[in-house]
């Protein structure tokens, strides 16, 4: 990301976020590397099981959260203003904030000079995303989106699925995911673009997306089967 973004950020947040998306995308974060980067944050922030507010707020469920969003944490005035002004934590805003915190929230009490290397930021975000992962965010979309987070073989994406086979296999999905769409605690999977569906399922299969049921179900689906399901659900009859 170039320095140009920084001063654009100084202006109105919301307008800028949209244009930032592309700057972040394409960078693949590495969770293990991100865990190492997180050591720099650990003195003040907790994340994961039983994480609590310390000097800084805990970072579970960070993605999609309004800045200064916790009632039980005492934020700087500057941060509260940013939150009231509409700042939300998405992949792009977090990336910009981490690059130069004071440029985004000038009066933040967070005494951290920022992560200059784009790869470090991408790694850290990949790590933090583990604790924000919500099945409702699939397909890989705002707020956790960091672009295409897979090196999925193009041949896999190019597979033409057999919708009839997909119809049969879909029985395994519709015990939980409603065939008519609708989300009552379990996200809708109908009418997704086929590529998004394939990418999401392979992310579960490779355990890059966290969810035990989905990792188990996707874990034994072959490439053809995932393609078949994608083809079926993309055009499911209503």
């Amino acid at each position: 990301m170039s320095g140009g973004c920084r001063h654009r950020f100084g202006a109105v947040f919301l307008a800028v976020f949209v244009s930032l998306g592309s700057a972040v995308s394409g960078q693949n974060g590495d969770v293990t590397a991100g865990e190492k980067v997180f050591k720099q944050c650990k003195g003040c922030h907790q994340v994961g099981q039983d994480a609590r507010h310390r000097i800084g707020p805990h970072l579970n469920g960070l993605f999609g959260r309004k800045a200064a969003g916790y009632e039980d944490f005492k934020y700087s005035k500057s941060f509260r203003r940013a939150g009231a002004g509409g700042l939300e934590w998405h992949a792009d805003t977090l990336d910009a904030f981490l690059e130069n915190p004071k440029a985004i929230v000038s009066g933040t009490r967070m005494s951290f000079r920022g992560l200059k290397k784009a790869q470090d930021r991408a790694d850290l975000l990949a790590y933090l995303r583990l604790y924000s992962d919500n099945p409702a965010d699939i397909p890989e979309a705002d707020p956790t989106a960091v672009g295409v987070d897979h090196d999925l073989d193009p041949a896999i994406l190019a597979l033409q699925g057999d919708p009839e086979y997909g119809a049969y296999l879909s029985g395994e999905c519709t015990t939980c995911h409603q065939a008519a769409g609708g989300d009552n605690g379990i996200p809708s999977i109908v009418f997704w673009p086929e590529d998004d569906f394939v990418v999401a399922m392979h992310a579960y299969k490779s355990k890059r997306r966290a969810h035990p049921v989905m990792q188990m179900i996707a874990g034994r689906l072959g490439d053809e089967e995932i393609a078949a399901l994608a083809a079926y659900f993309a055009n499911i009859e209503e």
Binding site: N60, T175, V213, R220
Partner: protein, 418 residues
Amino acid sequence: MTLDRRTFLGAAAAAASLSAPMVHAMGKPRVVVVGGGAGGATAARYIAKDSKGAIDVTLIEPTRTYYTCFFSNLYLGGFKEIDDIGHTYGGLATAGVNVVHDWAIGVDRDAKTVSLAGGATLPYDKLILSPGIDFVDGAVEGWDVSAQNKMPHAYKAGSQSELLKAQLAAMPEGGVFAMVAPPNPYRCPPGPYERVSMVAHFLKQNNPTAKIIVADPKPKFSKMALFQEGWANHYEGMVDWIGDDFGGGNVSVDPDAMTVTIDGEVTKVDVCNVIPAMKAGRIAELAGVTDGNWAPVNAADMSTKTDADVYVLGDASQQGDMPKSGFSANSQAKVCANAVRGALTGSKVFPAKFSNTCWSLIAPNDGVKVGATYEATPEKIAKVDGFISQTGESADVRKATYVESEGWYTGITNDMMG
């Protein structure tokens, strides 16, 4: 020789009757499904829906409203109303299933017919039985079905669930709730322990000095570490679980005196929930497809080992590694529906794939789950891979698990009933 009118008619009639089976074979194939629960409703709906009218599907189910056993414990805990867990059959009728509210009382496998209590006899090409469970006679000394009003099982949901809930609410202050837990194998392995949790939750709110005793013939049970952790966290000192090591299997009850005797020790109780040993719903036995308490089936398509045209789904089947759950029955039904449709219409039959996940609620927003995937082998349905919630999980994870179970409930009931 001239052909007189009479001979001619006779010959024509003979020809007609000879060709009758042909005409029938060229007509619509007929599937009869007995039992409109998790297995039967799903199978009926999928065959009707996917064959697009090419197969005649009749479902026999005596009740007009199916109360799901799943979430019936949440009803006891006060998280659901009874109407939330009741489902009618209009969706199936709309999907093209001929829904007949009657009991199947016999199966003639040679004639390929099912007889109904109302007097009708229905022919079938393929018969699918998903009758759920019945109780083994004499399983708990002192208890039989005639005592179910004094000591309810509440293991078939509906009036029994309402009765148990009313008894729970009427318990005197500091009273005793007893449960006699069933031996393996039985419907819903975590079910009795989720029930203990929900009863404890209700009592904690309404009758905090009351106690729960569980007499269990098993030394351990499903999700045991998770439940015991939860009981210690939420209901400290309230639940006394007596496993087999401490004589929990040596139990008798006296429904008139309202006493439970565990390993020789007599206790006067206020409510007694007796969950006896189980067997396949009786119609499976009447059809002659059981071996012992359950009906052995082939894993590839859920057809019985006894008769390739009779299939058994869900709790009544003996299939291998899958637990007896609504999720399992629903999963098996879809494999069976695909195979039955293929056999009758020549549609493509895909390889069997099964899965299961059982969620349980321990306390408000404290949900846990266990699940696995399965495949068909020549011997049985065999487990492939699985997972279970961990002890010590964060409150966020447990809440998310509970929210997910709500989503699953909507999903599976829509999948069954349309």
